[in-house]
Point group: D2
Chain length 338, copies 4
C-alpha cells in the first residue's frame, strides 16, 4: 500500500503512520519527495483493512498495490478451476450452454421449454422461482411450487438445473431441489447470502452486480470461497452505463480480464446483457471468442406469453439458430461444446 501525505504533513506525522504499519508486521517505507512525503507498506495488505490509515488527517490518499482478493486469484492457484454441474463440468476446455425461461410459470411451460433446450444441445436448464422485480406490482415468482416444477423438469429431461436464491434462510430448503444456485445481480453484495451459500457445497453462479467493479465481483466470490464453497462460477451479465439502446452494456472486457486474474470459470448471460433478442446470438458468439467458459440464455417455448423478460427470450427457431452458429466459434476457440 502506498500512502501519499498532504503537503503540510511533517516527519512526525509520517513516523506515526510508519509505526502503525509496523504494528501489523508490514514492512514500512519512508520516501520523502520534493513535494510530498510518500509512505509504503509492503506485505499482505489485507491486515491494513482495519487500520484505516486513510482516516489520518495528514493522509491525502491511499493506493493499494495488491488486489484484495486472494483465494480466487491466479496467484493462489494458476490452473483453471472446474466446477461440476450435473454430470458435466464447467471450466477448463469445455463450453457450456445453460438455457431456459426467465421464470418458472407452470409445468407445461417448463416441459415445453426444456424440450427445446435439450433438443439443440444445451446441458442445463434455468428458471427462476423467486423473482426479484423492480416493481411490487410485477409477477414475483411461484416460490417453492416453482422449485418443485423445476426439479421435476430437470429429472424428466436429464438436465441439471440452476435457479436464483434470494435469501440466506432458503439455503437448506433449496439444496434438495436444485443442482446449482444463482446469486442475482441485485444480491451480489448481500453478504449474508454469500456467506450462507458459502457454507453449502452447491455450485454457485455468481452474477456481477449491475454497477459492481471486477474487484468487487471477485471479492464477492471470495466471500463464498472463504466459507469453504469452492464451486463458484462467475457470470458477466452486463453493467449499467449511460447507454440505453441496450438494456445493459455487456462487459466482455471483464471476461478476458478475469480469466487472467482468477482461476474461476466465467460464463456470460447475453440475454440480460443486451435485453434484445436479436443481439443474443452475436454476443454469445463473442463470449466464446473472448474466452468465456459458457453462456446462460433465456429460452421460452413461446416468449410472447412469458411473464417476464419475453423481449429477450429466444423461441425454438432462434435457439436452434444460435446453437448451430455457436459451434464453429467453439471449435475456433479450441473448446468442446458440452
Amino acid at each position: 500500500m502506498i500512502i501519499v501525505l498532504k503537503p503540510e504533513a511533517t516527519e512526525t506525522d509520517a513516523k506515526e503512520i510508519l509505526n502503525q504499519i509496523e504494528s501489523v508486521n508490514l514492512k514500512p517505507l519512508y520516501m520523502p519527495g520534493t513535494e510530498r512525503i510518500v509512505l509504503g507498506a509492503l506485505g499482505d495488505e489485507r491486515v491494513l483493512h482495519n487500520l484505516n490509515i486513510a482516516a489520518h488527517p495528514m493522509v491525502e490518499n491511499v493506493k493499494p498495490i495488491l488486489s484484495t482478493y486472494k483465494q480466487v486469484s491466479r496467484e493462489m492457484q494458476s490452473h483453471d478451476t472446474q466446477v461440476n454441474f450435473g454430470r458435466n463440468t464447467i471450466g477448463g476446455g469445455t463450453f457450456t450452454v445453460i438455457a431456459g425461461p426467465c421464470a418458472v410459470e407452470s409445468k407445461e411451460q417448463m416441459f415445453k421449454s426444456a424440450e427445446i433446450v435439450k433438443k439443440y444441445g444445451a446441458v442445463g436448464i434455468r428458471g427462476g422461482a423467486f423473482k426479484p422485480r423492480t416493481s411490487p406490482y410485477s409477477f414475483q415468482g411461484l416460490e417453492e411450487e416453482g422449485l418443485k416444477i423445476l426439479k421435476e423438469t430437470s429429472a424428466e429431461y436429464g438436465l441439471p438445473c440452476v435457479t436464483e436464491i434470494i435469501d440466506a434462510g432458503h439455503v437448506e430448503m433449496m439444496e434438495s431441489y436444485v443442482d446449482a444456485f444463482q446469486i442475482g445481480a441485485r444480491n451480489m453484495q448481500n453478504f449474508k447470502l454469500l456467506k450462507a451459500v458459502g457454507q453449502s457445497q452447491k455450485p454457485t453462479i455468481l452474477k456481477r452486480g449491475m454497477s459492481a467493479t471486477i474487484e468487487e465481483l471477485l471479492l464477492a466470490a471470495e466471500y463464498i470461497y472463504n466459507e469453504g464453497n469452492k464451486n463458484v462460477i462467475i457470470c458477466e451479465r452486463g453493467i449499467r452505463t449511460y447507454e440505453k439502446a441496450t438494456r445493459n452494456t455487456l462487459d466482455l472486457n471483464a471476461v478476458a480480464y478475469i480469466k487472467t486474474k482468477s482461476h474461476l470459470p466465467v460464463i456470460v448471460d447475453p440475454s440480460h446483457g443486451t435485453g434484445i433478442r436479436e443481439l443474443v446470438a452475436p454476443m454469445a458468439k463473442a463470449a466464446v471468442a473472448c474466452g468465456a467458459d459458457g453462456v446462460i440464455v433465456e429460452v421460452h417455448y413461446n416468449p410472447q406469453i412469458a411473464l417476464s423478460d419475453g423481449q429477450q427470450s429466444l423461441d425454438e427457431n432462434h435457439f436452434a439458430k444460435l446453437m448451430s452458429e455457436l459451434n464453429p466459434f467453439v471449435q475456433a476457440a479450441g473448446k468442446v461444446l458440452v
Copy 2:
C-alpha cells in the same frame, strides 16, 4: 404506454396487441403512421406489467407514459409526509441532522461520539451494528452486541437512533433496539427485506442503491409503502459514476427532482456521497439549499482510530464548524433546524 411496432409489422399484428390491451381494460389506440404503426394503451399501466407486450416479435419498443410508482407519488398525496423520529419529525419545514459513527465499535466510542453529536445540536444518532463490507477480511460489525450499545447510548443522551438492517429475519429482533431502520444502498433492491420492513411500522431510511435510478428508488419505497409502512424517508447518498476523485457522485438533482414527484421526506448523506472529510460541510449546505429535509453525517470522536470510513468522518471541530455554518442556510431555506 406507447408501443412502437417494427417497420414490417402488419395491421393484423397491431390488432393482436390491441386485443391484449383491451383484455386488461385499458383504452387501446391505433396510430398508423407513414413509417411505423404506433399503438397506445391508456389507463393504469401497472396492469400491463404482466402482459409483457415488449416480448411480441413485432414490437420494436415500448415507452411507459406514467411513472410506475403510485402510492409514494405527489399525484396520490400532494402534501409532504412527515415521519416521526423520536420526539422530532422529519419532513415538512424542519431540517434534521442525524450524526454518529459509521460503525458501533464500543460503548466508550459511542458515548464519546454521542456527546459531540448532542452538544452541537444534532437530534439523532447513527451507528452500524451489521456492516456490509466489500471484503470478507474487513470488520463486519458487532451485531446484536452493537445494537445493545446503540440503545444504551440513545437512552443516555436522549437521541433517537437509527441503524442498518441487512436481513429480513432481523426485523422483530431489531425493533426493540432502534427508533428507525436504515436500508443500505446494497440492499435497496433486496425485496424480501423491503417487504419485511414494510410489515413493521418503524420509520425507515431507504438509501439509494449505488446505481439505482430515481424511479427504481421510488419503486423500492413503494415496496415498503405497499406493505403498510408509510414511514419512509428517502436518502440520497451518491451514485456510482466514472468520476473517481470523490468516492461517489452526490446527485443533488435527485433531491430536487424527488421533492417534485414524491411526498416522502428526503435526506442526504454527504459523508458517503463524497468520501472526503473536507467536502462534507459544503455538500451538507448544498443539501439544505436544494430542498432536502435533513442530513445524516458520520461523526466520530477520533476518526483516526475508526474501524471503518474514518477518512470521511468528522471529529468534534469539524462537526462544530459544520453545525454553525449550516444554520444560516437552513434559515435562508425558511426552515428550522431541529
Copy 3:
C-alpha cells in the same frame, strides 16, 4: 413523437400544441387518458426539432418514436455499404485488419512497424501525426512532418494509411497524404470538423466519443453523410464507465446493434477499448464474432520505447499470435480476412 402533458394541462393547452404539430404538416393525435392527456405527432420527426415542443410549460416530457438519423439507417438502405480503402474494401463479407503505432515518431519506427504489420497480413497502416493528449506536457505529434513519413511508409510497404484529423482547416492539406481520415473520440461532436470532412470524399473512420450514445454516434455519421461523403466507417473504441480495471469498456453490444440499424461498416479498436496488451487478442476475436467488419490495432516494433500508449501496443510476437488466432474466427463468421 409522443407528448405527455402535465396533470394540470387543459384541453386548450392540448389544442395549442396540436396546432403547432399541424403547422409543420405532421399528423396530430389527441389521446385524453384518465390521468394525463397524451398527444402524438406522426411523420418525419426531424421537422419537430426546431419547434421545441418540450419547452411548453404544460409539457411533462416528449418521447421520440423514430430514430433521428435517416441516411445512415438500414431503413434508407438495406444492403451493407462497402468503403474502399486502398485496393481493399471495408464491409460486406470481408474482415479488415489495420495496424500500426499510436503515433508517428520517426521514419525508422514507421518502417520497422510497417514491416511487421505487412508480414502477418494486415492490409492498412495507422499512425497519428496530430495527437490530442490529455496533458499539455505530453508529446503532441510530429504534425505535417509525421504525415510525410506516414505517406512514405504507405508507399514503401503498399499499405494504405489512415491518420487522425483534428481540425477542419486541415482537410485539404491532409487529403494528399492519406488514404483515409480518422475522427477521434474527442472530436466525434466537433461538428465543424464533421462537416469539413463531409465535403471531402476521403473514406473516414468515425470513432465513437467516449460517452457518446449509439444514436449520437450515428447522428455524427449523418453529419458527414449529409454533406455528401458516403464513405463512412463507424469505429467502436470503448466507452467510459465506472469500471477502471480496463482503460475503457469495449461496448460490443453496440457493434451488433449498429449492424441491425445502419448499413455502414463497423470496425473495432480493441487497443483503446481495453488499454491492456493481453486483452487485445481476445477482444479482437470477440469483435469478429459479434459481426464487426474489421479491427484497428496498435502495433509497434518496440512498445517499450513508444512515445504514447505503449502499454496497449503489440510487438511482433503478440501481433503474429493475434493474426494466427484471428483467422479461425473469421472463417467461423463466414468472412474472409483481407
Copy 4:
C-alpha cells in the same frame, strides 16, 4: 509515481526501469516486497509522461502520486484567482449571475431577454451564435450575424457578454465582439481550440466535458493557462451518468473539490445540469451553498418559442423568483451578489 511490477519480474527488470527514472533526474526507489517488486519515482512526474514506463512488459500498473496539472493548482497559487468580466470580477467573495438565451435568434429576442436579465440583477448576458447540435437537422446558430446582435445587446443594456467559440480559426474574429469566450462541453478536449484561446487574453469559461474527469478538466484549463491566458473560469454543467430523469447529473461535489485543489473561479450551469426548468432554482441555490463563484442560467423572454433548450429556460417570472430566492443563500455564504 509508483510502479508495480508483475509477479514474474526480476531484479534486472527493476534495474532497467530504475535507470530510466534516473535518466530524467527523478529519484528512484526500489521496494522489493514478498509478493511483488514495487518501484518509485519521486519528483516532478510530468517528465515521466514521455517515458511511457507503463509500456514495459514487466510493469503491471503505474500509479501517479501527484496531480498532473500544476499551474492551475492551489499548490502553485494559494489565493483565489479573480477574473475580470466587464466591470465586474468573477471569483473571490462575489457571486456572479450570467443569464440569457441558449441561442441568439434575433435582435428582438435578445433585447427582450436582456431586459429581464438586467432587471433582476444579473451582471452578464449569454447567447450562442455558433451552436453545436447533436443532429444536423437542428438549428445551427446565426454565426457572425448572431455575434453582432449579441454585441449590440451588450452595449444597449450595459451587460458584458459571453458566447461559445467552436473553432480555433475564430479567435481573432470573435475577440472584437465579446467580453468572454465559452468553451463548450463537446470541445473541452479540442486541444487546438484550447491553445488558440490560450494565446488570447479573453476571459474564458471552460465547461466540463460531459464525461470528463475533474483531472481532465483541470488539465484542459492548464492547456489554456500554459499558453499565457490566466483568465480561466471553470464551469460545472453536469456529467453523463446512467440516470436519465434529469438531462445530466450536476456534480456539485466537483465544485467543492475543485475549490480545494485549484485557485481558479468555478461557476455552475444549472440549466444544462438539470435540463428541467423547475430544478434550475434549487440547484442554483445549492451551487452557492457548496462554494461556487457564480451561475450561468438560460433565460428567454418566451421559452415556448425558443429555437433550442426551451424546456430548461426560465421566463421572467421564474427568473425573478430565482434571483429573489438566491440572495439569502449568497448572504449565508458570506458573499455579495454582483
